[in-house]
């Protein structure tokens, strides 16, 4: 009896998961169509452009690696947004935290000489994390001590961070031996090793490991439970005796640290120098990554690779046709809108579909259950199951 009930509930979860995946796939498809329309309006053949994007993203081993290179900062930024979001915070400031993390990491790389790689690189990564955490912590502290909106403050800090890095690389941190506004090249001991003899570096592995850690923290630890609880309902959480403000500040710090690491990884893995505008808006793209990843750390991995592919593919397309890579922004924006609005537009429709599917295909098990349900109490169990399903 219990066995049958379990199976049926599992099948319902299964149906829900399939529907969700189909839905996200549909959203991506519609967004690609929208991008196609824009290309057609701009006088580029969408089919040709998408073929170039596809080839540029996954056409051969080299382009797959390039996709993963592009996915790395996106994954960090997505995780940064996801982690804060699960606690009910809007950290729109990944962009600024990426810049500051890159700056502090680069400082540790350039001004702490003479360390071997196994000590220097971790030190730099920690420095990047601390920089990002402090930057986000400003907004977090202003929120809990002053009640100031973290949304506005993280946006403001983005620009402050970008200008601060711009000042540092034209002034104090400028490479003394060059004329360009950029820092000196990072020493070998602070660089991330490359994978498979390509531009792909260990930063991608680090990002994936971080995603798994965050998944475990959020879903398998008491602290993660507290975080999600604060995200669901602050009042109720406070009543339960969980320190809301402390968690808000801690989550903001960790969220900033994630972006900060992402910033330094981009420097240590790809650019090798700090310079102005090294991030073409990865922080903002992170929001799209997080939303398409269902605000789930592991889902972020998939969506970061998707957007990384779009980006590296669009670079290839720009080289061939001259259509701007900014097209990717249109596709991203459309996906964001569809994913955010799906609950409102398709929520009822999806629930009906799930109910129908569960009835249609789950019902094959139901008669068996009913066959064994001789007593009224057992029939009642199956009634309860319906309750749970809702």
């Amino acid at each position: 009896m219990r066995e049958a009930r379990k199976v049926n509930l599992a099948s319902e979860r299964w149906v829900k998961a399939v529907i969700e995946v189909l839905f996200y796939g549909g959203a991506v498809f519609i967004a690609l169509l929208a991008g196609g329309l824009v290309m057609a309006a701009a006088g580029v053949s969408p089919l040709e452009a998408y073929r170039l994007i596809w080839d540029g993203a996954v056409g051969d081993a080299g382009s797959v690696k390039e996709t993963l290179v592009k996915a790395t900062p996106l994954l960090f930024a997505g995780l940064c947004y996801t982690f804060a979001y699960r606690c009910g915070l809007f950290n729109i400031g990944a962009e600024g935290q990426i810049y500051i993390g890159a700056m502090t990491g680069t400082m540790a790389a350039l001004y702490v000489p003479g360390l071997p790689g196994y000590a220097h690189l971790p030190l730099c990564i920690v420095a990047g994390a601390v920089g990002g955490a402090l930057w986000a912590g400003i907004a977090g502290a202003l929120k809990i001590f002053k009640g100031a909106s973290e949304i506005i403050n993280t946006i403001m800090l983005n620009y402050v961070g970008i200008y601060l890095v711009s000042y540092m690389v034209t002034g104090p941190m400028k490479d003394p031996s060059g004329t360009l506004p950029q820092s000196a090249r990072l020493p070998e001991s602070a660089l991330l090793a490359k994978l498979f003899d390509s531009r792909l570096h260990y930063g991608f592995v680090l990002a994936v490991v971080l995603a798994i850690i965050l998944y475990v923290v959020l879903n398998r630890t008491v602290w993660g439970y507290e975080i999600r609880s604060v995200g669901f309902n602050k009042q109720a959480t406070k009543v339960m005796g969980i320190p809301v403000n402390r968690n808000l500040l801690l989550v903001m710090l960790v969220s900033g640290a994630i972006a900060g690491i992402g910033g330094f990884v981009e420097i240590a893995g790809v650019q090798n120098r700090l310079f102005q505008n090294f991030s073409p808006g990865y922080g903002y793209d992170g929001i799209a990554v997080a939303l398409v990843g269902g605000a789930h750390p592991l889902g972020n991995i998939g969506s970061a690779i998707l957007f990384g592919g779009l980006r590296s593919g669009a670079n290839a397309m720009q080289r061939m046709t001259g259509t701007s890579t900014s097209l990717v922004y249109v596709i991203q924006a459309t996906i964001i809108v569809l994913v955010v609005c799906n609950r409102y537009w398709f929520g009822g429709w999806k629930r009906q579909l799930i109910a129908w599917l569960v009835n249609r295909y789950g019902s094959r098990r139901l008669p068996e259950e009913l066959q064994t349900a001789h007593s009224a109490s057992e029939v009642k169990i199956s009634f309860n199951k319906g309750e749970e399903a809702r």
Partner: protein, 312 residues
């Protein structure tokens, strides 16, 4: 400093304030009705491009302004549909709008107007000196030798103040921003008011974009708004969500921008990046300062389902 330097500084301060002021007034209307618009950056970009496209294809700057107002008005309504009727998160939709604006204007800017050195130059909105007033020493030339959009922006400030504080509709807007449920029970059409505010905000974004593209540069360049949409948001916050305060903040931030350009050209050793940070830092200080004194409309960023739509 001689008189010429001061006058030219004041003139450029005003010129740089006008786009900020127009965009900030748009945000103010939306904000007072309880809608947080962090997508202003994208809206202004779309306005700037539509203005140049209109001016280029109809060969007249006013036509460009009208096209921009039309396009961004529609964008405002779309934003309204997503956050009011659909009830989606305003922060996320605002971010999407920024990405959308940046992507669309870059792609279409290149295909319609060309890029770089070959970018299309259009006839801008000419400066019209106002007789007598423009002869006032120092401020006369700065304030009253500007283009029509600047004069429009001066007039919009008292107009907005009048609407908000002296008209029934303005009271309704403010009440919707503070407590939509209470307003709704008194028969105020919450959704309609928010839609109208989104429309006004969108249209003003179009004018702001034109004042950048047709008023200053006479062409469209990629990402030409360069954070001014966010500075406009800062101006609203720093101006304590009032029209007059918003104007003061816009002038201050526009002045800082003009000063930073002067510093760069005179080779003064204060790094210009710190001048560029100034609006954002000041806004953070102001936001922390105001907190707890309830200057911000209470219902900011909260979606509202009207009583009529709720199933009983």
């Amino acid at each position: 400093m001689n008189e010429e330097v001061i006058v030219s500084f004041l003139a450029s301060a005003i010129r740089l304030s006008v786009p900020l002021l127009l965009a900030a007034l748009g945000i103010l209307f939306m904000s007072r009705s309880g809608i947080l618009n962090i997508g202003m950056e994208g809206m202004v970009l779309i306005g700037a491009l539509s203005g140049v496209v209109g001016a280029y294809y109809f060969d007249s700057a006013p036509a460009g302004v009208l096209l921009a107002i039309l396009v961004t008005g529609l964008v405002g309504l779309l934003f309204g549909f997503l956050v009011i009727t659909t009830g989606a998160d305003q922060v996320v939709i605002g971010t999407a709008l920024n990405l959308f604006g940046l992507g669309l204007t870059t792609v279409f800017g290149r295909s319609l107007l060309g890029m770089g050195q070959e970018a299309v130059q259009v006839k801008g909105i000419p400066s019209v000196p106002i007789p007598l007033l423009s002869d006032i020493p120092y401020i006369g030339d700065a304030l009253f030798n500007q283009n029509v959009l600047a004069y429009v922006s001066y007039l919009l400030v008292p107009a907005a103040a009048f609407i908000f504080y002296k008209t029934n509709w303005g009271l309704q807007v403010r009440s919707v921003g503070e407590n939509p449920l209470a307003a709704d029970t008194l028969g105020v059409r919450v959704h309609r008011i928010r839609y109208i505010c989104c429309l006004i905000g969108g249209m003003l974004a179009g004018v702001a974009g034109c004042s950048l593209s047709l008023g200053i540069l006479n062409q469209f360049t990629e990402n030409m708004v360069a954070g001014r949409g966010f500075i406009a948001l800062s101006a609203v916050i720093f101006g304590k969500w009032t029209p007059l305060g918003t104007m003061g903040a816009s002038l201050l931030f526009g002045g800082a921008d003009a000063l930073q350009l002067r510093f760069q050209s005179f080779g003064i050793k204060i790094p210009y990046q710190f001048m560029l940070m100034f609006p954002y830092l000041l806004t953070m200080v102001a936001l922390a300062w105001f907190s707890g004194k309830s200057k911000q409309p209470a219902a900011t960023a909260a979606s509202y389902k009207s009583l009529a739509d709720r199933s009983s």
